[in-house]
């Protein structure tokens, strides 16, 4: 990305669109492309540079944004029929920061509907393919954002992560994906799935690039009450430093020894640990005794919040509306009939499943048994992490149980799909930062990732360790063969 200092932004962005034109017919990672406005924005950057005006840290760099973040000049669909034609009247804070940093927004990327899924197969706009193997998923829900980086369309993209939606697709697509500490990036303008778990984060070719992007999008935002009023670290410096001598790294035994873990991924994680040891880190075993309850707790808390957050899509104010059919209108009145048909037809099956789960769990008589119980589990999980970080600086384990699976393989089996989140939901439930970085290529030629998790606001430690790994390995430099 240093090249931007010499090469015109216009050329870089043109190259980006040339790459998109080549891969997009097969990969189909974008829900919207903004070539015209992107080219114009690039030319403006070049004019600014010629005039000697100060330039932002991402001047002229093409960035793709997951279609879950509001953009005032592009549709924002959340991968849903419900918002198929929705154009927000405002920019999300993260998008605003990207523009202020002179980044070029090339378009919006495909995702599981309302970020609910782990394969980008629940999108209303069709599936996205993994650039490494077109028969396989890029992961999800930020599948589009991961695929466009892996395909070489853009060096940077923005994803969101509620239970692993940045880290799992990053692992499946051989790139770096960081889920920051809850509250580090503003959620203002991020269309909510589960508000207490959602975080925006950077996805990139390399740790250094992810750190640069993180520097731009992180920080306090008075528009988000859950945003942390603490200034950001120098992430770029941490990512170039890469000195981890004396760093205490904990191996999560429950994850590495998990019977459902793919053996190739286990080997890659162990190899990464060996690399960390060689770089001067001290490796110790750590236990997270409640980690097995992470997925069940997550699949109560997230649907509860989602059922509430998605109530606003009622056809009355914006987005999709289905006219009520006469029979239902006669039976229940025109209002209820409009709600039923709008929500029945505007949402896909997975979204409806989660709304039903959440509505059920919040209902009188079930609230204590499900929602409150899940919150208690959540506290225990956070306590496990707190205890672990008493003795180690970061935790290492797999990002996913398996490499990218085949399209269609799990889409009809929600439980199998939910288990994709096995190793990632803990960080969301605890609100801690976690990063997935490439750690190997399996015998089938698919990338696999290793996940590092840190204490709250430990992004710099994660980036430093991940940079140390990338300084000693070349997995992040490998590209799909197409």
């Amino acid at each position: 990305m240093q090249a931007t200092r010499e090469v015109a932004a216009e050329q870089i962005v043109a190259a980006s669109f040339a790459s998109i034109r080549q891969s997009e017919p097969q990969i189909r990672a974008f829900t919207h492309l903004a070539e015209e406005t992107a080219m114009e924005a690039a030319r403006q950057i070049d004019r600014k540079r010629e005039r000697g005006d100060p330039l932002g840290p991402l001047a002229g760099i093409p960035v793709a944004v997951k279609d879950v973040l509001c953009t005032r000049d592009m549709p924002t669909t959340c991968g849903s029929r419900m918002l198929r034609d929705f154009r927000p009247p405002y920019d999300s804070t993260v998008v605003h920061k990207l523009r202020a940093a002179d980044a070029i927004l090339v378009g919006k990327t495909n995702m599981d509907e309302f970020a609910m899924g782990a394969s980008t197969e629940t999108s209303h706009f069709g599936i996205t393919r993994n650039p490494w193997d077109h028969e396989r998923t890029p992961g999800g829900s930020s599948g589009g954002a991961a695929a466009v980086v892996a395909a070489g369309n853009v060096p940077l993209s923005i994803g969101s992560d509620t239970g692993g939606s940045i880290r799992q697709p990053a692992a499946f697509c051989g790139i770096t994906g960081l889920k920051p500490t809850y509250g580090r990036c503003s959620r203002y303008g991020l269309i909510a799935f589960a508000s207490s778990l959602d975080q925006v984060g950077p996805m990139a070719w390399s740790v250094a690039d992810a750190a640069l992007l993180m520097q731009v999008i992180g920080g306090f935002d008075p528009r988000d009450s859950t945003s942390l009023e603490i200034s950001s670290d120098d992430y770029a410096a941490a990512a170039t430093d890469g000195d981890i001598r004396g760093l205490r790294i904990g191996v999560i035994r429950e994850a590495v020894d998990h019977e459902g873990l793919d053996p190739d991924i286990r080997s890659a994680v162990l190899a990464a640990l060996a690399t960390f040891r060689d770089a001067g880190a001290r490796i110790v075993d750590v236990h997270l005794p409640h980690s097995e309850y992470g997925v069940p707790a997550y699949y109560v808390v997230a649907p509860c919040e989602a059922s509430s957050n998605l109530s606003r899509y009622d056809g009355a104010h914006y987005g999709f509306r289905a006219e009520p059919n006469a029979e239902l209108a006669a039976a229940s009145g025109p209002l209820l009939a409009t709600y039923c048909r709008t929500r029945g037809e505007g949402f896909g099956a997975e979204v409806k499943r989660r709304i039903l789960l959440g509505t059920y769990a919040l209902s009188t008589g079930y609230f204590d048994a499900y929602y409150l119980k899940a919150l208690k589990v959540r506290r225990l999980i956070r306590a496990d992490y707190d205890a672990a970080f008493q003795s180690v600086d970061l935790l290492v384990g797999p990002a996913t149980p398996s490499p990218a699976f085949r399209l269609g393989e799990k889409v009809d089996d929600p439980l199998q799909m939910y288990l994709c989140d096995l190793f990632t939901v803990g960080a969301n439930l605890a609100g801690i930062p976690a990063i997935s970085v490439p750690a190997g290529i399996n015998p089938s030629g698919l990338p696999v990732g290793v996940q590092l998790q840190g204490p709250p606001l430990g992004e710099s430690t994660l980036l430093r360790a991940a940079a140390a790994l990338q300084a000693r390995t070349d997995f992040h430099l490998q590209r799909p063969q197409r």
């Binding site: 405002y90 303008g189 988000d224 509430s308 109530s311 104010h317 709600y339 609230f367 929602y371």
Partner: protein
């Protein structure tokens, strides 16, 4: 309309009120939109109050401060921690599909309000306040059902307006008491600057929970609770309660249903027909599925903030009444009337009383003359042409004896109608101080002209002198009746 008997009731009416007041904040509860009534529909909105995807609420500190202020004035406990919950139901004027409210940790808990007993002005009744919590208002649905149309329009300007819902204990025992409670609450909240409490603009809305305790051969039977909605004035609250009490008693006589067998129901009040009618419940209202709003952090309220707010409360209306009674020696009724007019009237009265040096006289004047004039002229005390200083000056002259009450009224009228100050009004009316010599010669003249009066007085009829005072006033309107009386008595004794 069911006629209600004036005989002692065979039952007791039990009433609890839920009062929603819009807080007088500059901006809305969770966004920066202006909090103002009467703008063109859908012009005071933003992504946050429209509930657009991705928008997030941020609490308005001023709303918290006003709620704490109201809570302290209502003798509530302000807990160290309060939080936000989502109350979920579908309705087109609720764009998020949930209302941000407070469920189990309201900002104000367990207080009370003292009200004057409507049966006895010198007694008070303590009405418990269960809780008061903050919540956002919904928009307004305007149903155009004219000419067979089924259009509905929605104005979202009101969305996100801060509301304080004040819930009383079922401590009220009559419609009259409910009305006094509402008046006192309104007075308190307007006095504190918490709310305008304009029922016409919807900045104060009342729901009444009503049932009866019926005495059945020594045992108490309670009728099912009915919540009455849609009341648009204190008067309609009063009438709705009276109507509902009669209706419930008749219903109980007819069907014998009690609180044990029947759930709470909702009825609306029809002002024109003066009756309550069963109301259809809101869609999905059966289960609001409250849960903590994950977009908002719980609010910690430091003790120091609460104590500072308590110190800044100033004198509350109830205390002002007592103080005015003692400090100015005015009757409880006069104190009540003055205090109920609000802070500007209290200031006016105190200034007048201070300058006049006679609180009781000032109380009479303010409570009678000034209030009558305000009512006749449709004016408020702030714009009243006779300033407190001017009225005080006038009454001081009455107290000093240079004017009598009747002449003072003439001066007051002149000041009011011609905008004159006291001195020029007195001059214009030709009022001059009559010196003692002139009074003496006037009295001597009158006594000599009325030997019968002198005769009667000597015979022991003191009051016979009175007729001469009237004649003296006719001969010289400026003569002070008191001075005339004294002179007559003095002179007749020497005759």
């Amino acid at each position: 309309m069911i006629a209600h008997s004036t005989d002692p009731m065979p039952y007791q009416t039990v009433i609890g009120l839920e009062v929603h007041v819009q807080l007088k904040t500059r901006s809305k509860l969770f966004c920066r939109c202006e909090n103002r009534f009467g703008a063109a529909p859908n012009t005071q909105t933003c992504p946050v109050c429209l509930g657009l995807p991705g928008a997030l609420p941020v609490i308005n500190q001023q709303a918290l401060e006003l709620a704490i202020r109201a809570g302290l004035a209502l003798n509530c406990e302000i807990p160290p921690l309060t939080k936000w919950d989502r109350k979920q139901y579908f309705y087109p004027d609720l764009p998020k599909g949930y209302q941000i409210s407070q469920f189990d940790l309201p900002i104000c808990a367990s207080g009370h309000l003292e009200i004057v007993d409507p049966e006895d002005a010198s007694a008070t009744r303590r009405i418990g306040i269960t809780r008061a919590h903050l919540e956002e208002d919904a928009g307004k649905s305007i149903h155009d059902e004219a000419a067979g149309r089924t259009d509905s329009r929605i104005d979202l300007n009101r969305c996100g307006t801060p509301l304080l819902e004040i819930v009383s204990e079922p401590d009220l025992r009559s419609a009259a008491e409910a009305r006094v409670y509402l008046s006192e609450l309104k007075l308190l909240l307007t006095h504190l600057g918490v709310s305008d409490c304009e029922m016409q603009e919807g900045s104060l809305r009342v729901d009444a929970n009503v049932n009866l305790w019926i005495d059945v051969s020594g045992e108490q039977v309670a009728t099912p609770i009915v919540e009455i909605k849609n009341m648009n004035s204190f008067r309609s609250v009063e009438r709705a309660i009276l109507y509902e009490a009669d209706r419930q008693f008749l219903a109980w006589q007819e069907n014998g249903k009690t609180i044990r067998t029947e759930p709470k129901t909702t009825r609306g009040w029809d002002d024109a027909r003066e009756s309550t009618f069963p109301q259809r419940e809101k869609e999905e209202s059966a289960d609001y599925r409250y849960f903590p709003d994950p977009d908002l952090l719980p609010v910690r309220i430091p003790r120091a903030q609460v104590e500072a707010a308590r110190e800044n409360l100033g004198e509350l209306p109830a205390a002002t009444r007592t103080r005015l009674e003692h400090e100015y020696k005015i009757k409880p009724y006069d104190a009540d009337v003055i205090v109920n007019q609000g802070p500007a009237m209290i200031r006016y009265f105190e200034t007048v009383a201070g300058l006049a040096g006679d609180g009781r006289r000032a109380g009479n004047w303010v409570q009678q003359d000034v209030l009558r004039m305000l009512k006749d002229r449709g004016e408020t005390i702030e714009s009243f042409p006779v300033s407190a200083a001017a009225l005080g000056d006038l009454l001081a002259r009455v107290v000093a004896g240079s004017l009598d009450n009747t002449r003072a009224r003439d001066v007051f009228t002149a000041m009011l109608e011609k905008g004159q100050d006291v001195a020029s009004a007195i001059a214009a009316l030709g009022i001059a101080t009559v010196d003692a010599g002139a009074v003496d010669s006037l009295c001597r003249e009158l006594l000599e002209a009325n030997p019968q009066v002198v005769e009667d007085f000597r015979g022991g009829k003191q009051q016979a002198i009175g007729s001469l005072i009237g004649q003296a006033k006719q001969k010289n309107p400026n003569a002070n009746p008191q001075a005339v009386r004294e002179a007559l008595l003095r002179i007749v004794a020497t005759m």
